[in-house]
């Protein structure tokens, strides 16, 4: 338990510094595989860089499961604490992020929802946790997966946008969790322009996905 608390404190410290030192976490030399190896060896700086890179994705995945934003932040912190604890116990032999963190966060969210439901079983209907959790994380896991038709529609919409915009989208969303500044430096655009492109692509893909839903 002390190890988890220690890891949690370290993660919290790093997140508070994130806004002041974004360059450290987004350094081009911070190769993901190298960072993972160093983190598995217990390197705190590597853990800090990995947490800074993937924390937002973990929070967003929890929000997508219907977890309240404050609880999502707490669960994301707990996710990293659990992973660091596992590493310190020598139980973590491989570190593939963000997938491992997303899975851990989903497990914690489901466990949290079950515990809340169990505690409120004798309460009035209006006080059931579903009132505060618009979607049950355990139930929404299957609902979140896109159908083949949705994917093909999204791919078709993606094929219609300009190659440069598609490149920006793929760099930002293909799982590497590159910061927008890194994406901007790779494609030779400003960070503002990269975000503008991402918003435009999101609108097009949202339309494509909703068309299928309404059909």
């Amino acid at each position: 338990m002390s190890a988890a608390v220690q890891g949690l404190r370290m993660t919290t410290l790093r997140l508070s510094k994130e806004a002041d030192e974004p360059a450290e976490a987004t350094a081009p030399g911070g190769d993901e595989a190298l960072l993972a190896r160093r983190a598995l060896a217990g390197d705190r700086a590597a853990w800090d860089a990995l947490v800074a890179r993937h924390h937002r994705r973990v929070v967003v995945s929890l929000l997508a499961r219907g977890v309240r934003v404050d609880r999502a932040q707490e669960l994301a912190q707990e996710t990293w604490a659990r992973l660091i604890q596992q590493q310190q116990r020598g139980l973590l032999t491989e570190l593939r992020l963000p997938n491992l963190a997303l899975t851990q966060a989903a497990f914690l969210a489901a466990d949290d929802a079950r515990r809340a439901r169990r505690e409120s079983v004798a309460s009035a209907v209006d006080e059931l946790p579903e009132r505060h959790h618009p979607v049950d994380p355990a139930v929404s896991a299957e609902r979140r997966l896109l159908s083949e038709e949705q994917l093909s529609r999204a791919h078709a919409a993606l094929a219609q946008i300009s190659p440069s915009a598609r490149n920006v989208f793929l760099l930002a969303c293909d799982g590497q969790e590159l910061p927008h500044a890194e994406v901007a430096s790779r494609v030779g655009l400003s960070v503002q322009r990269v975000r503008q492109i991402l918003c435009e692509v999101r609108k097009k893909l949202r339309t494509a996905l909703e068309e299928e839903t309404h059909a």
Binding site: V60, L63, A64, R68, G175, R206
Partner: protein, 186 residues
């Protein structure tokens, strides 16, 4: 007093991490009090997760970065290569005379890149220098020699060691074998 509701753009900016820390904190505080705004934020987060899924299923070759003019340059190179190959094959046909290429070594002009074709072309252009022509008789020797030298060919004079070709050479077939009028036993 409840703060103004979220706009979709604001929720999108929050999901992308583009909001200033103060605005992000204000947005988070609002979604804790307002269920419709919490649902809007959840929709944007869900879309973000779906977009990650879409990006992860895009074929990898779409990630290849190419300069904007790469295709144009490649098309130009292809056209130039095809033109060179055509010119090389035409020159080969014109310069190689009536000698057919050996059956065991097919011409590489159809298959090889233009640079290889050019090398072959140079080899084939140089090859006629080894061709020996024989002037048939003394009456036409002067003009025959001059014409051959102008073409860079070697001349075998009638009084040389080589045998003067005879136009009335025998085929070795029985007389009348090439006639189509009646069958002839060989």
């Amino acid at each position: 007093m409840l703060k103004p509701h979220l706009t979709r753009d604001a929720a999108e900016q929050y999901i992308l991490g583009a909001l200033a820390p103060e605005k992000a904190a204000s947005l988070e505080a609002h979604t804790l009090e307002c269920e419709p705004c919490a649902r809007l934020l959840q929709e944007e987060a869900l879309l973000s997760e779906q977009l990650h899924e879409v990006a992860s299923t895009v074929p990898r070759d779409a990630h290849v970065l190419r300069p904007a003019r790469w295709d144009t340059r490649r098309m130009g190179l292809g056209t130039a290569g095809a033109a060179l190959a055509t010119a090389a094959s035409l020159a080969f046909v014109l310069l190689s005379g009536e000698r057919p290429p050996p059956a065991s070594s097919p011409l590489p002009l159809e298959m090889a890149p233009p640079t290889v074709a050019l090398e072959k072309l140079e080899m084939e252009v140089a090859e006629p220098r080894a061709v020996v022509v024989a002037c048939p008789d003394l009456a036409t020797q002067a003009s025959c020699t001059q014409a051959a030298e102008e073409r860079g060919l070697l001349v075998q004079y009638p009084w040389g060691t080589g045998e003067v070709p005879r136009y009335e050479a025998r085929t070795g077939l029985p007389e009348g074998a090439l006639s189509a009028r009646r069958p002839v036993s060989l």
